[in-house]
Symmetry: C2
Subunit: 346 residues, 2 copies
């Protein structure tokens, strides 16, 4: 392909100048006479010549290309992060490629090798809810990688990862969600989702427990169900919880790990004839595009994922070695309402 494989030599000889001059025109340097510039430019246009960035990179030792590693793009949460990162990268003149998690922890080939060989100018890694058995592997891979390129982390970054990062403090966020619910009079508040053995102290369920303490509410093991962050998991988890509890003890508010889990919870509630928010409030997290269109529309927390992605790119390029966090805000919709003990069962 690229049959018109024109090089800088072709242009130079066509015009009758040296390649150095063509290079100068190409990069808009000023020390070229207007007449020469004009002739060269015409030849470039005539031949449809585009300089090879490959060759350029070899000289300049920089590729202006970044990488990002995400668990999966099918979850809109990650798609938003990716979009934010990609757009910011482009704005700054960089290209963004997506690499799957396998690049890091399960590649038969030496992990991360492909990333290094590509001579990326930087890498963003979204570490979220790492299964405990992956933690050490991933951490090791990251340490290797950073010897070759700047690495910025996104997500729920364990404090013992000494990397620049854009990490929302999920714990603080959850804590305030609990406060939001207790202020509404809820006392039986459940939390659904998340990895059980995750060691990260900032994870969402830690905040849940802190929130309960703030409100002097007891932590009840049956109100805490672990599971993957999918709709199916949320559905099954709430199902299980309701099944194991007498009706009087059913929670009046559910905090879901994220909106996907919340979707599953809404489904289960519907199936059991529990009215939301009449008998049970449900709150999600991430504020996915579909949250307003669920029934009832889902109260959630906007975690500004696009901004997170963009900020990570900025840190990557500026080289700042900081760990920062992004604002979040509660988006009130119909799925949460004050607890009303008078209300009868429907």
């Amino acid at each position: 392909m690229n049959s018109e494989n024109t090089t800088i030599y072709d242009i130079a000889s066509e015009v009758g100048v040296s390649i150095a001059t063509v290079s100068r025109v190409l990069r808009g340097e000023t020390n070229v006479s207007p007449a020469t510039r004009e002739k060269v430019q015409q030849a470039i246009d005539r031949r449809n010549y585009r300089p090879s960035s490959i060759a350029r990179w070899l000289t300049s030792k920089t590729t202006h290309s970044l990488g990002i590693i995400l668990p999966k793009l099918l979850n809109p949460h990650y798609a938003m992060i990716f979009t934010g990162a990609q757009e910011e990268a482009r704005r700054l003149g960089y290209t963004m490629s997506l690499f799957p998690w396998a690049s890091l922890d399960t590649d038969a080939y030496n992990p991360a090798t492909m990333l290094i060989e590509r001579r990326l100018d930087g890498l963003i890694v979204c570490v979220e809810y790492l299964p405990p058995d992956h933690d050490e592997l991933v951490h090791e891979a990251l340490r290797t990688l950073r010897r070759f390129m700047p690495v910025v982390l996104i997500g729920c970054v364990p404090p013992w990862y000494d990397f620049p990062a854009v990490a929302n403090n999920n714990a603080a966020m959850m804590r305030s969600i609990v406060a939001y619910l207790t202020a509404m009079g809820h006392e039986k508040i459940a939390f659904i989702g998340g990895v059980q053995e995750d060691k990260d102290p900032h994870r969402r369920d830690i905040g849940y427990e802190e929130g309960l303490q703030d409100a002097r509410l007891p932590y009840t093991a049956s109100y805490r169900v672990y599971g993957k962050g999918t709709p199916e998991a949320g559905k099954a988890a709430l199902e299980e919880m309701l099944g194991s509890l007498k009706r009087d003890y059913w929670p009046t508010a559910i905090i879901a790990l994220n909106d996907l889990v919340a979707m599953g919870c809404l489904e289960t509630a519907r199936k059991h004839g529990i009215s939301v928010p009449g008998q049970m409030s449900v709150i999600g997290c991430d504020d996915l595009f579909c949250a307003p269109y669920l029934f009832p529309s889902l109260t959630s927390v906007n975690t500004h994922q696009q901004q997170t992605g963009a900020r990570a790119v900025q840190l990557l390029i500026s080289g700042e070695q900081r760990r920062e966090s992004v604002e979040w805000e509660l988006v009130e919709r119909a799925s949460c309402a004050p607890f009303n003990s008078e209300k009868g069962e429907s």
Copy 2:
């Protein structure tokens, strides 16, 4: 960065062999004595050496990197296509980078220049519902691009685009959806969404009209509302339709351009107290992950987007110049039901 900027020369001199020998070890060639191979490999491991693909590319004239251009990743439909393409690319040893539409039609810089300079081995472009005023621009950009790299198209590809493509025949699909609804007794069937002036004969609304003809139903202009493919647009469009029609003439079935539009329609129906599917059936398209969790769960059409993306990559790499289409299948859920003329208004 990359402080350990080791090159093939470093390894060669460390071991005391020529760079050619190191290169042979690197690429696993057999004509190296076991002893030498061992020594070289040890030096490589010791120095943590990773050959630069940049230099390799310069020689080999191939970058093993592909590009994909999508309207926007925030729409899960495109995220699925991207995921399918990305995974297949990786499986085949290629990298996949995302480029925004702007690369093609609005770049201040010469469109597509960045793509060409990067010397991609191929490009996938998702052309869907091109606004008519963009069609010529995009077509022109694509023609330029294909002179430099193989291009495969995805989506609703107009027949006058002479490119290899993976295009579902949206018209045929829609036609059968209409058949599905008429078989259920619906006669007042509306279609919501899409670009009005799109010239493509395979677009979804053409199939809608064909379907009506099949069933000997009249085409009613008021049942056809144009609009963007978003939930908001769907909401507003149905709103407008209901507002302009006497209650007796309200459609009993809505075909939405896609699931996003369908989400908006469900919302409007809910707001007007129209029960779905009791008084009005709604069918979407694309079968997004949230379709089962809407209320009522949304009947939709699975268009196998991941497979579409994967197939496009295969065409790209194999170089086959064919235009093919991917299967689709109706996924029946709760939002469509037979029309029952006896049923009273709620």
